[in-house]
């Protein structure tokens, strides 16, 4: 990556207040995202994986400029998105669009397709109403739908077609970054393949970047250039997708990869990870993964490990930190 990355998430924390009692006093905070740093370069696909509740979607909301972080900075092309004037943030919001998981819940059932996909443009004054149909036709063409879809309503479409409409809507704003929050997870395999191909085509055609959130590792492996693994609000491992998939370092990443059965791969080799994600309200001390980690050491209970960078492959685990603690942040040969 050269120059400023398109999206730069720097040490972001997102907290939600816990309110109790008659006066709804704030009695504490749920630390949904804790000190996450992640970059997405122009034209890059960055995968974000982790279990439900790990903070992936909260981070996405922060990136969408919908959830101000308690601490940290999110920059889009070098501009701090939460330090903008009303007009500034409006312009930045246009550049980041989102495609949600459930195409049944994310399209307005009362609007015809042409309105759904051009609504944003009208609101931004980028399109006159008499041009709506023509633009909608072009957008539908981009996502592989015919002009016969223009005046139909969402309920008349299948899940895969609806997801195409969601993509057309995101695309209409000419964004630089699209956040795909489990965008292909609910689709059948053959439909999923079509939507994945479409996303990759559009990326090449319009130079888009994707922050691709998914719990399906095989999809991330196929699509992403880089991948970040989240556990309880933190990124525990990050690196080039092929490095992380071929040589996962963090015990959590190893467990995730071993847990997902791969067609044609080895069978039943790894014992499944026990238990589930601990409560975010009462996170375990030290490295929060120590309660489930097969390789936990005494130090893991005491403090959170530093992130070690080896040739751009970053891991936050004491197994690596203890090997050479003095060289934190420096590449180990």
């Amino acid at each position: 990556m050269s120059g400023a990355p398109l999206l730069d998430i720097h040490d972001v924390h997102v907290w939600f207040p816990i309110r109790r009692g008659v006066f709804s006093r704030v009695r504490g905070h749920v630390r949904a995202v804790q000190g996450v740093s992640l970059q997405v370069g122009a034209g890059e696909v960055v995968g974000l994986v982790g279990e439900s509740g790990c903070g992936k979607s909260t981070l996405a909301r922060a990136v969408m400029m919908l959830q101000p972080p308690a601490q940290g900075v999110i920059r889009l092309e070098g501009r701090d998105v939460y330090a903008q004037s009303a007009t500034g943030i409006r312009e930045l919001r246009r550049q980041v669009q989102i495609v949600f998981q459930d195409p049944y819940a994310s399209l307005n059932p009362r609007l015809p397709v042409y309105q759904i996909i051009t609504e944003g443009l009208i609101a931004y004054g980028m399109l006159r109403e008499n041009e709506q149909e023509e633009r909608a036709r072009a957008l539908l063409h981009d996502v592989g739908l015919g002009a016969d879809a223009l005046y139909r309503y969402p309920h008349e479409f299948s899940g895969g077609q609806r997801q195409r409409i969601s993509i057309a809507r995101a695309l209409s704003m000419r964004p630089k970054l699209i956040v795909c929050d489990e965008a292909v997870s609910a689709l059948d395999v053959s439909i999923q393949a079509q939507v994945i191909n479409l996303l990759m085509e559009l990326k090449a055609k319009y130079g888009l970047s994707y922050l691709f959130i998914s719990h399906d590792l095989s999809v991330v492996k196929f699509m992403a250039d880089r991948v970040a693994v989240m556990y309880l609000g933190r990124i525990v491992e990050e690196g080039r997708c092929r490095d992380v998939m071929a040589n996962p370092r963090h015990p959590y990443t190893q467990a995730l990869l071993a847990a997902a059965p791969v067609a044609g791969g080895p069978r039943g080799v790894a014992p499944p990870l026990s238990g589930e994600l601990p409560s975010v309200t009462h996170p375990p001390s030290g490295c929060p993964f120590h309660t489930r980690c097969p390789k936990a050491m005494p130090v893991c209970r005491e403090r959170y490990p530093d992130t070690i960078d080896q040739h751009g492959h970053q891991t936050a685990c004491h197994l690596f930190a203890s090997a050479d603690r003095a060289t934190t942040g420096v590449a180990i040969p």
């Binding site: 279990e51 395999v189 053959s190 393949a193 492996k221 995730l256 044609g264 791969g265 589930e276």
Partner: protein, 333 residues
């Protein structure tokens, strides 16, 4: 593995009356499930796999549904012909079902503990205290933390993954001879999925038979000994998992495997299946996959192929003999 089937389904056909006409949802489906085996049932939404499963326990709403014909032999008796009272004794005790959506299978008004106790007392002579203890033990087995407290929880107080595991506990608790699992892990994280799959594997080792309906080919590969593929209400292929993956006899099976991102080279384009599943209101005369098939020829338009056996594999395709004679690997990749 025993050689006498536990369940033998013969020529099962099910249809639904809709506003637009009669829909044949399951069309002359025949298969067997043996003790100690996991049979994978694969196919896309709407192919009839769930209706097949529900019909076996006569759980489809009648009307509008109707079991047109067929027999389902279980321990020498026909599930489809026996009086409902007898079937009720079999449901849950000998054959249990795991549904995809746990909220519809659990009573929202009763605590988990009570539901677990009631299920046992319906089928067995067991006192409340023992049933409670067994229920709690099973919650622990399916990986629910703080099982003794959870016994007092209402379903809405649990996360989706936990509710799913409660239902799985309920299904396994009576140690049935056959478990019909309809997308049991689709809504779960891979780590939880791995735990559930490990449990099912354990049941299988105790000679329980499992009919596993899923669209995840990785899960089929990992768990199943044999698989059957459904398309447009029919079985189009069945056989041992290794054989079918290595040399899919039906072009649809091949297309499904090719569309799987786990089996594809990252950065490339996924193979997709063009077009759409034909409407069940009027299936074409010939092969139902013809219009989407890369190998279709003239005779496919007029001749509806029968499911033909070739050793352990059965295929519904005019080209089956030729395709299965090709050296393995010739078809895939």
């Amino acid at each position: 593995m025993s050689t006498t089937p536990l369940l033998k389904v013969e020529d099962l056909s099910v249809s639904f009356r809709t506003d637009n006409g009669l829909v044949r949802a399951v069309d002359r489906v025949s298969f067997e499930v043996f003790p100690g085996e996991v049979l994978g049932v694969v196919g896309e939404s709407g192919c009839g796999k769930s209706v097949t499963a529900m019909s076996l326990l006569r759980l489809i709403p009648q009307p509008p549904g109707r079991i047109d014909e067929g027999r389902a032999w279980f321990a020498g008796r026909d599930l489809l012909a026996m009086p409902v009272e007898e079937l009720r004794a079999i449901r849950g005790r000998d054959i249990s079902m795991i549904f995809q959506e746990p909220m519809t299978a659990l009573s929202p008004l009763h605590r988990i503990g009570r539901q677990l106790v009631e299920t046992q007392q319906f089928h067995r002579q067991v006192d409340r205290a023992t049933a409670w203890r067994i229920g709690e033990e099973w919650l622990r087995k399916v990986g629910i933390p703080d099982a003794s407290e959870r016994m007092y929880a209402y379903p809405y107080e649990l996360s989706g993954g936990m509710r799913q595991r409660v239902m799985i506990a309920m299904a396994l608790m009576l140690e049935p001879k056959l478990i019909i699992a309809d997308e049991p892990t689709t809504a779960l994280d891979v780590t939880i999925q791995a735990q559930i799959l490990a449990l099912l594997r354990e049941m299988k080792n105790r000679d329980t038979a499992v009919m596993l309906i899923t669209h995840n080919l990785g899960v089929v590969w990992e768990m199943c000994t044999r698989m059957m593929v459904m398309y447009a209400s029919e079985i189009v292929e069945s056989g041992p998992v290794d054989q079918v993956f290595a040399r899919p006899g039906h072009p649809y099976t091949e297309a499904l495997l090719r569309a799987n991102p786990a089996l594809a080279e990252p950065g490339g384009t996924l193979d997709t299946i063009p077009g759409q599943v034909p409407s069940p209101l009027g299936y074409p005369v010939g092969c139902r996959f013809r219009e989407r098939c890369a190998y279709a020829r003239e005779e496919c338009a007029t001749r509806h192929p029968e499911l033909e056996g070739f050793g352990h594999q059965s295929v519904r395709c005019v080209l089956a003999r030729q395709r299965l004679a090709a050296p393995s690997g010739e078809i895939m990749r």
